[in-house]
Amino acid sequence: MNFEANQVRLQSPGDRDVIRSLRVGDRVLLSGFIVTGRDLVHRMLARDLPDSVRPLLRNAFIYHCGPVAVRDGAGWRIVSAGPTTSMREEPYQAGILKEYGLLGVIGKGGMGRATSIALAETGGVYLHATGGAGSLLASRIVGVPDLRYLAEFGVPEAMWVFQVSDFPATVTMDSTGSSLHESVLELSRERLAALVGP
């Protein structure tokens, strides 16, 4: 079976019209620059509104990820870097998508209603990367051109800028407001009721 078929190539930073044309279920290969952010980065972005990171985020993807990173000379080597659970950032994500002009979010597990509405308003998309596939996804990270907030937040929570090449993901929330996570939840709820009764 050819799992690499029908994949859409995307750039970050990229063109919002291309992102708008994506639909739930599309498989994508992302290249360019993405910026990691977990709990501390999201709280900081929402509270402090730092101008210094705006150029990194404009028309780019934020990646919910806390990597395993090893110092390599003056720089860093990323040895494992899969997604973390996105839902923890739900309180902040909608505001951050709009405030910083993000193209979208990469994470796992999907996000809630507020993020879905913000993606529809901004023409953004949620890309689902495979949780646990840390080694495979790290192999698509070809450089670490920038790193912020390491001293303040530590390795897992710092803001890493990754240069990626053919980073694989699945569109699970699109700019029409459609969410694969919602439809799987509803389907499984019906099947649960059939199994154990309402």
Partner: protein, 292 residues
């Protein structure tokens, strides 16, 4: 007679293999699932398989969330100074692995969130010593990520909200409900460790220990049929790999039981992600510890 204590190097090797090389029964289960899947589920499962191979070859973490090391030392017969020595060597191995990119620094101050960066903290790693009824000395480690830990849960029966009474049917309802609530958030297809009975604390502990059991060694007795029945039923929910639909949703269910207080009936579920990282050090007769 007491066994030797693993050296720092032997602990390092245990952690490297645990972090980078999935157990063969887990990889086989992913491989079997891949043969039966297409579409998005097939894509996800093939990434899981490719990732496992890459991590093993490169000796790099399968998953960036290397968890909090949970260690079970059995049959070593150590006195208090031996236990202190064991813990010191293990801590040193964790520091080495954290600086070399085998483990992520995952021990943060509970309140301030400050991360000292060496993977060691109050209560981390968790080490449990047990000496009764053991034929051979073993040291088991489980590296379980935060996402899967967060979706673990405990039911107190009767639980009217899911129609669960204090019987086998009630137990079944709890476990299906736990899998439904987790959706893909624990990194499905997961492995469910279940404890029936015990108290609030021992229930969670014993449920987690079920994750040390191999997928090809099901329970015997009362829980045997329930385990395989639950796999089929949970896989009919359509949650699928990473919660993106399809099948499988779980690779296995392992149930154990503890005696309970007459007033209490807990069913506790520990969610193990698909990347279940468990490994064992086994003492050989010549005093060398080998990772299996």
């Amino acid at each position: 007679m007491s066994a030797t204590i693993p050296s720092v190097d032997e602990f390092v090797e245990l952690l490297v293999v645990a972090s980078s090389d999935l157990p063969d029964d887990v990889e086989a289960a992913i491989g079997r699932a891949l043969l039966l899947s297409g579409g998005t589920a097939g894509c996800i499962l093939s990434e899981m398989r490719d990732n496992s191979e890459l991590a093993r070859v490169r000796r790099q973490p399968v998953c960036q969330d290397t968890g909090i090391p949970y260690v079970l030392a059995t049959g070593l017969g150590l006195d208090s100074s031996g236990r202190r020595d064991f813990k010191a060597r293990l801590a040193e191995a964790i520091r080495i692995c954290t600086s070399s990119g085998v483990l992520r620094p995952n021990a943060v101050d509970a309140l301030t969130g400050v991360n000292p960066g060496d993977g060691i903290g109050e209560g981390i790693p968790q080490v449990h010593f047990e000496d009764e009824g053991c034929e051979r000395a073993t040291v088991d480690v489980l590296l379980k990520g935060g996402g899967s830990e967060n979706v673990g849960c405990q039911y107190s029966l009767p639980d009217q909200s899911i129609g669960a009474g204090r019987d086998l049917e009630g137990i079944r309802r709890c476990i299906i409900d736990a899998a439904f609530r987790a959706q893909g958030l624990g990194c499905s297809p997961g492995i469910l460790g279940v404890c029936v009975g015990g108290d609030r604390a021992s229930g969670y502990e014993f449920a987690k220990r079920q994750l040390f059991r191999r997928l090809d060694h099901p329970s015997s007795g009362a829980f045997a049929a329930l385990e395989s029945e639950l796999v089929d039923q949970i896989n009919s929910l359509g949650i699928g790999p990473m919660g993106l639909g399809g099948s499988p949703t779980v690779l296995g269910v392992r149930i154990g039981s503890l005696a309970r207080h007459p007033a209490s009936f807990f069913v506790t579920v520990a969610y193990g992600c698909w990347a279940l990282r468990r490994r064992r050090l086994l003492a050989s007769p010549d005093g060398v510890w080998v990772v299996v």
